[in-house]
Structures are given as structure tokens and as C-alpha cells.
């Protein structure tokens, strides 16, 4: 019988974190930012059908970076959770904070007990109402949950992008300005991102129950011009 080598808990956590970080860094990043009338989500995504940004509920959106199959499964679970909760209780009882906590627990469990940690970083955004504030919950691969006050960057190059965006937008701005700065922050000084490589969704009150809308290339162009 062969004896397994001893690996210290510190080393194990470090290895797992490195593994997850590497996986996440392979994909492209995204920016979520609160603007004067809602929440903007911008991802660099060359695919026009495999989305990173999605509607969860009337006032809740989801975004994920990293391994597509892993965060898409979390997205589906989120929609099921929200629709099930709204069906059992009431639409106004569906709270993004509860969902963010479930995500954090699941990612935490997978990080310590799973075969491998999930190589994803996700965001749950909530558009405020008279009942709840506007919120951006960022959940990292190991289950750390952060309540970001104004904007959040997800993905490998988060720190650089964050510095660029924070410098450009010091306060909450209108949609067009926020989008411009978010795209510039994602692209960096050496690149320009074509509209076809952008995926943009917003949460904004337009008199409808459902506040999420995906912006078309044309709408993105108009806002960026």
C-alpha cells in the first residue's frame, strides 16, 4: 500500500487558489458599474451567443467570467432559485443578497471540498427600489463575497482595469459616459475593442416589471459615439 504524501493545509489552499486564478485569467474580463439611472454590465466577449451577462429576475442580473460551462450552470441555478422563490412567496421577496450568499456558499464548498475549485468569478447586480438598495455583489472562486460600492471588475486583469476605470470615473455618471469609460478600461491604452466584441446589458427602470435589457450593437455604437 502506498502512503500519500503529506501536504500542509496552507499549501493545499495555495495550490487550489493558483489553479482557479490561472483558469480565470485565461478568459477576458468584465466591468459592472452603477450609473445615474441603473446598473451597467460590460464584458469583452467575441461570441454573439455564449453570453456572460444575463437576466436573473425583475431587478437582478448575473455576470460571470472564467470557465463558461461552470458559470452558466450557476446562472441557470440562479434563475431557478429566483423564479422558485417568487412563485412560492412573492416577486418582491426575491432578494439578490440571498442569492449572492448561496453562490458564495457553493463556491466556498467547491473550493475546499470539490474535486477542483470552480474557475469562475461571478457578479450579482441588483437595481434598487423602495424596498432594497442598488447593489453589486462580487463573488470570487473561493467564496469570498464583496459588496462593491460603485463598480466591480471581474477577471484576470482586474487590478489594472480597476485602476483605469477608477481614474476615469470618480463619481457616478450617465450611461453613455460610464459605458465609454468601461470599454476604455477593458481595452487599455494599446487596444480598441470593436463593438462586435462587446456584450452589454443594463438594469434600468423603464416602466416595466422586468428591468434587464441587452443592448444591440447599434445601441452600443450610439452610446459610444
Amino acid at each position: 500500500m502506498s502512503m500519500p504524501f503529506y501536504v500542509s493545509p496552507e499549501q493545499l489552499i495555495k495550490d487550489r487558489a493558483e489553479f482557479a486564478q490561472k483558469g480565470i485569467a485565461r478568459g477576458r474580463s468584465m466591468v459592472a458599474a452603477i450609473y445615474d439611472r441603473g446598473v451597467l454590465l460590460v464584458a469583452e466577449n467575441p461570441s454573439a451567443s455564449l453570453y456572460k451577462i444575463s437576466e436573473i429576475y425583475d431587478r437582478i442580473a448575473f455576470a460571470g467570467v472564467g470557465k463558461y460551462n461552470e458559470f452558466d450552470r450557476l446562472r441557470e441555478a440562479g434563475i431557478r432559485w429566483a423564479d422558485g422563490t417568487g412563485f412560492t412567496y412573492s416577486r418582491e421577496d426575491v432578494d439578490a443578497r440571498a442569492l449572492a450568499n448561496y453562490y458564495a456558499q457553493h463556491l466556498g464548498d467547491m473550493f475546499t471540498e470539490g474535486q477542483k475549485p470552480l474557475e469562475v468569478e461571478i457578479l450579482v447586480a441588483q437595481l434598487g427600489s423602495s424596498l432594497r438598495p442598488t447593489k453589486l455583489y462580487r463573488i470570487a472562486y473561493e467564496g469570498t463575497i464583496a459588496d462593491e460600492p460603485r463598480f466591480a471588475i471581474l477577471g484576470g486583469d482586474a487590478e489594472t482595469i480597476m485602476a483605469r476605470f477608477a481614474e476615469a470615473d470618480e463619481t457616478v455618471q450617465p450611461l453613455a459616459r460610464t459605458l465609454k469609460d468601461a470599454v476604455a478600461a477593458l481595452a487599455g491604452p494599446e487596444r480598441t475593442l470593436p463593438t462586435s466584441d462587446l456584450e452589454v446589458g443594463i438594469l434600468e427602470d423603464r416602466g416595466n416589471r422586468r428591468t434587464f435589457v441587452r443592448l444591440t450593437d447599434q445601441q452600443i455604437d450610439e452610446l459610444l459615439s
Binding site: 453570453y51 444575463s54 437576466e55 436573473i56 450552470r73 450557476l74 441557470e76 441555478a77 440562479g78 434563475i79 431557478r80 432559485w81 423564479d83 422558485g84 422563490t85 417568487g86 412563485f87 412560492t88 448561496y102 453562490y103 456558499q105 457553493h106 422586468r210
Partner: protein
């Protein structure tokens, strides 16, 4: 409720009904309590640019249980869904349908086709009607954006789904409404003609069926009138509905309550 994660082989897919069944969110079957409130007459009439739906507002058990029930609801932007039968199960059914269409749209990022929605409802009706005496009969009408026509789907008690190219009725006042529609329907009805015919058909049902309420001028409660066309689901304002029923009522008062052998 925790985070509902499934492995690929047991995943319920984009169907909220199947997810609800797996997780016990759906209502009990096999219960036998007959004495519950019943909802009555709803009709749908096709016209050249879409579908008109008219439904009365009364729920009846042994007595009148409610005078202002809404039996027609938007299932989504382009679809209207009406129910007859047990009110409790009917309301739950509408909620399930509304949520299912939205759920599908969010899960797959594409809307179900109108025919897809119609077929989707069959097993839900089947599950309810074949396992409980608390019958529900729905009526689905919608604008089909891919074919640019209004379409009507009716159901039998066992969940069978049938498309109707002219009109359809559900509920206890159906025989009277159906007779009126049979005489008055033409394939070239315009919106105004369809609203007139729909109102008259419901008036007849209210006149002859004790469980269907006609216009209630005392309480200012009138049947619901709805149009579904390329602009989506729209409910007529109470004043407009009241006016249409007032015209019919005045005519009927002048003739001493006799329909008069014509459709006037």
C-alpha cells in the same frame, strides 16, 4: 430553498413546470374536494389583425363567490391566457404559465413560439384534470410574430390542445356564447366587428347562464375585453367596455328582452 443545482443528466432544462415538479413546488394531486369556487364564460374571436377575448367577472360556488375576478391575464407580451373551472387551480395555472414562459426566455435567451407555448400547457392541464376533480380548462390566444397572425388554442378536459381558426369558448355559458358566435362570425371581421360580436356573445351567456355575469350597471363592473395583436396584449378601458354593453343593453330594453332573430 438552497441553490438548485443539477447534474447534466437530471437537469430539468428550461421548463419551470418540470423543475417545480422535481422540487415539490407544484400543488397536490389526488385531493377530492368539489365545492370550490368556479369561474365561467370566456370567449376568443379571431379577426384580421389578431384576436379579441372577452370574459365575465363572476366566480360561483353555491352562491356568488366574487364579482370582480380576472379570468384573462397576459401570459406574456404576445399571449393572453384565460381559465374556466376551479378558480383556485385556475389562478395557479395562470401563474405557472406566466412564470414558465418567462423562465424559458431567461434560461435560453429566446422566446418560446406560440405553438410551443400552447403545447407546453397540455401536460400541466393533464396532470391536474386527470388526477383531481378540480377541473381547469384554459384558453390560449396570441399573436404569432413569426407568422404575423392571431391564433387561438383550445383544450379539452384531458389536456388535448386544438387550434381554432375562427373562435372558441370555455366555461358554463359556452353554449349560448358559441351559438351567437356561430351566427355572427365571418372570416373578414375587423377589430370593431370582433369586439361587437364578442360583447354580444358574452351578453347572451350572461343572460341565460346563472353562473355567468353580464354587465353590472349597478356596481359598474363589466366583463373584461382584451385585444392581442402585433402591439401585444391590451385591455380595453372600462369606459369603452361599458359603452359597448350599454348599446347592447339599450337595444335589448327597447325590444323587450327579445334578441329579435337577427344579431342585433
Amino acid at each position: 430553498m438552497g441553490l438548485p443545482l443539477f447534474s447534466a443528466h437530471s437537469d430539468p432544462g428550461p421548463s419551470f413546470f418540470h423543475y417545480a415538479e422535481m422540487t415539490g413546488l407544484t400543488s397536490q394531486t389526488g385531493l377530492a374536494e368539489r365545492d370550490s369556487a368556479h369561474a365561467t364564460t370566456v370567449i376568443a374571436v379571431r379577426y384580421v389583425g389578431g384576436v379579441v377575448m372577452v370574459g365575465d367577472r363572476q366566480a360561483t360556488s353555491n352562491y356568488i363567490a366574487s364579482r370582480d375576478v380576472r379570468k384573462i391575464e397576459p401570459a406574456d407580451f404576445f399571449t393572453a391566457l384565460a381559465i374556466a373551472g376551479t378558480a383556485a387551480r385556475g389562478m395557479e395555472f395562470i401563474r405557472m404559465a406566466q412564470l414558465s414562459f418567462e423562465h424559458y426566455e431567461k434560461m435560453t435567451d429566446s422566446a418560446l413560439s406560440l405553438e410551443g407555448k400552447a403545447n407546453y400547457l397540455s401536460p400541466i392541464i393533464q396532470r391536474n384534470n386527470l388526477t383531481t376533480p378540480l377541473m381547469v380548462i384554459p384558453l390560449l390566444a396570441g399573436w404569432d410574430p413569426s407568422h404575423q397572425v392571431g391564433r387561438i388554442f383550445e383544450y379539452d378536459g384531458a389536456g388535448g390542445c386544438y387550434e381554432r381558426l375562427d373562435f372558441a369558448t370555455i366555461g358554463s355559458g359556452s353554449p349560448f356564447a358559441e351559438s351567437t358566435l356561430r351566427l355572427g362570425f365571418r372570416s373578414d371581421l375587423d377589430l370593431d366587428g370582433a369586439l361587437d360580436l364578442g360583447a354580444l356573445a358574452l351578453y347572451e351567456a350572461g343572460d341565460n347562464d346563472p353562473s355567468t355575469a353580464g354587465p353590472d350597471f349597478v356596481r359598474s363592473l363589466f366583463p373584461m375585453m382584451v385585444t392581442v395583436n402585433e402591439k401585444g396584449f391590451q385591455e380595453l378601458a372600462t369606459e369603452e367596455v361599458a359603452e359597448r354593453f350599454r348599446v347592447i343593453n339599450d337595444r335589448r330594453t327597447q325590444s323587450g328582452g327579445i334578441p329579435g332573430g337577427t344579431l342585433r
